[in-house]
Symmetry: C2
Subunit: 384 residues, 2 copies
């Protein structure tokens, strides 16, 4: 053979169990791990279709919508959202106060959109009034907002007002709900969100790689009437909606979905519902987050988002104390306790630490452990 058998593959792989309290992925529930060990099903088997149908219903509940056009992407939902609603030279306004606004900008530019960015400092809110000025000036076809900025721990306010603004200007409202679904209210229909997508690997404790997304009838109609085809076969919402059977037409093959990821997601939604559903989960995430804030502040640590109501309960950003290297804290936590703490991202790199208390990790005891590690590491590094 030109390329011989590599010896390295003869050694078994090593997978450690860690406490996944970074910004995501979060730990799987043992039942989710079991679900993922089940036998593979074909992408066109009736059992798979049943699981897909259940997931659609579950996602509509989680997103509080009655949309028909709800399905999952094998891949990234943010790209799917933008691919479908943007055509060449379309104006898109992006509210950007962190990593995910920047990602949306990156994608929109690749799609040859006319991109207008409302640029705020990391952690700042996008305001309705400044957005209105952009709308009046540019008359965008699409407006993008991040509901929970995982790079700063910020919760964007006033989504319903933004929704009304979008209606007024006949603009599609696209919202990244990846870290908010399940930890704080998200009402897709009531807030008139046209395209919303959520994460699986955050509050749900489900595997990444399969991303739920929903399109309003208004958004879908615009997609159907596009002048140019969607620039990707895989992300084409019309094709995907047929495979996921959004209408009455027979199902059509689109791609080989990974049944294992569907099992994990289906099981995660089932567990979420068994545990009391949205209200119970919102309350739990808010309570545990508050407990965590108190522990940190009592011990002299500062939160990056100063106004408590603007903090997203799932991911808390803690300021790195002066003269301390963020990486040292992260390393200390992982090496000593097998506990993951994330660093900053983009503009917040080195300035903040991020802690995710999500789903099965959203417990007072976990909050207390992570707080203790943070406090201890800070003291230790201060003494050195």
């Amino acid at each position: 053979m030109d390329v011989p058998i590599p010896e390295i593959l003869k050694k078994p792989m090593e997978v450690d169990e860690k406490i996944m309290t970074g910004a995501g992925p979060s730990n799987y529930h043992p039942r989710i791990r079991h679900a993922m060990s089940l036998p593979v099903l074909g992408h066109l088997h009736p059992e798979t279709f049943k699981i897909m149908d259940d997931i659609k219903i579950g996602v509509n509940y989680l997103l509080q919508t009655n949309n028909s056009y709800t399905f999952c992407i094998s891949g990234s939902a943010i790209e799917c959202a933008l691919m479908n609603v943007i055509e060449d030279n379309d104006v898109i306004v992006i509210g950007c106060c962190g990593q995910w606004g920047t990602r949306a900008e990156n994608i929109a530019k690749r799609l040859n959109a006319d991109v207008k960015v409302i640029n705020k400092e990391p952690g700042e809110q996008i305001e309705v009034e400044e957005t209105r000025i952009f709308f009046e000036q540019y008359h965008p076809k699409v407006f993008f907002l991040t509901h929970g900025e995982s790079s700063t721990g910020m919760l964007q306010q006033n989504l319903e007002q933004f929704g009304n603004l979008c209606q007024e200007f006949d603009c599609l409202f696209v919202v990244d709900c990846v870290i908010t679904v399940g930890c704080t209210p998200v009402y897709v229909d009531k807030w008139k969100i046209d395209v919303a997508f959520m994460g699986t690997q955050k509050v749900l404790n489900a595997p990444p790689g399969i991303s739920p997304i929903t399109f309003s009838a208004r958004a879908f109609e615009k997609i159907v009437k596009r002048k140019s085809p969607v620039k990707s076969y895989n992300y084409d919402a019309v094709n995907l909606s047929k495979y996921w059977k959004s209408g009455d037409e027979p199902r059509v093959y689109h791609h080989t979905v990974c049944s294992t990821l569907l099992y994990g997601l289906r099981e995660a939604i089932a567990i979420f519902i068994e545990n009391g559903g949205l209200e119970a989960s919102w309350k739990n995430h808010q309570n545990v987050a508050k407990h965590f804030y108190t522990l940190l502040e009592k011990n002299g640590l500062e939160l990056f988002i100063t106004d408590p109501k603007n903090r997203v309960p799932s991911v808390t950003a803690v300021k790195v104390p002066e003269n301390i290297d963020a990486n040292e804290i992260i390393k200390h936590s992982m090496n000593e306790y097998n506990v993951e703490i994330s660093g900053g991202m983009g503009q917040t790199k080195g300035k903040i630490l991020r802690v995710g208390l999500m789903g099965i990790n959203c417990k007072e005891i976990v909050a207390e452990c992570v707080a203790k590690i943070l406090i201890e590491a800070t003291r230790k590094l201060n003494e050195e």
Copy 2:
């Protein structure tokens, strides 16, 4: 709540174990199922990077290449291949004699390429000489071929000659090796293939949703020098190569890869190597396929690809006997025996049945069972 808790999610899901002898996905090995039940790792953990490194080395072995730019896509590799090498108005020549040529055409048109298709009947070979005529007329930047057409069971010949032709015309050679890797020789370097991608859910018995792909230095250089950005963030080979650390630069976050899918793929490659690697697997797939052909032909069934050397060992296409409904055979096999047989696809729908004897299902006993079912079902339906 606007949308109440759905009752349907309170029932457990049902996942049957089936004999997955359709065109793919194939069954997981029990060790792969175990690997997929392991705890989640972060997309930036050193253990994950180690597994990614091992997979890269394993994929280079499977594809017989020394390329640096080898990685996996969370999603579909065929789209990633074309997204990166096509710019607006670039001429691409596509050899099309089945579903995957048609898919490539669909994707290339979305990318605004100038698409020239060598259109052959399903099951026919693309010939080097007719391709040369296209090259002389259109001077393409990209040439696409499917090595194993899973929609017809055809094995494309003369890849090395096509590789030489592409060199002569300074054209990038893109080859779909999804169903050929592991069942018949594939030599990416020797054949001068510039972009090759393979399937996980076929001969490897690994989960779908994570697709290995490799780029030659020549291809990568052209991608780096593109005039316009790749139209997708997720499929951008330069970003992906940084995340997968193809060069000496530090790793950069790109997207949240699903560690579970990496475990499944890593374990599948390890098992493949333990079982003797490529030569052993080629031999086994060829022998079992031949045994299967003989059993069918002895009992009056006809194969869709008449010349035995043009049959791909992993997926065999059997002509549907006259006056028989293909779906009845498929249903009989699944309902009575829990054995999957696939129907045709696109132009071959209703005309052929497709049987995949791949990886752990590539055994004489499995071939005999499926042959028996096909023969029995045909007799039964003939009598009715």
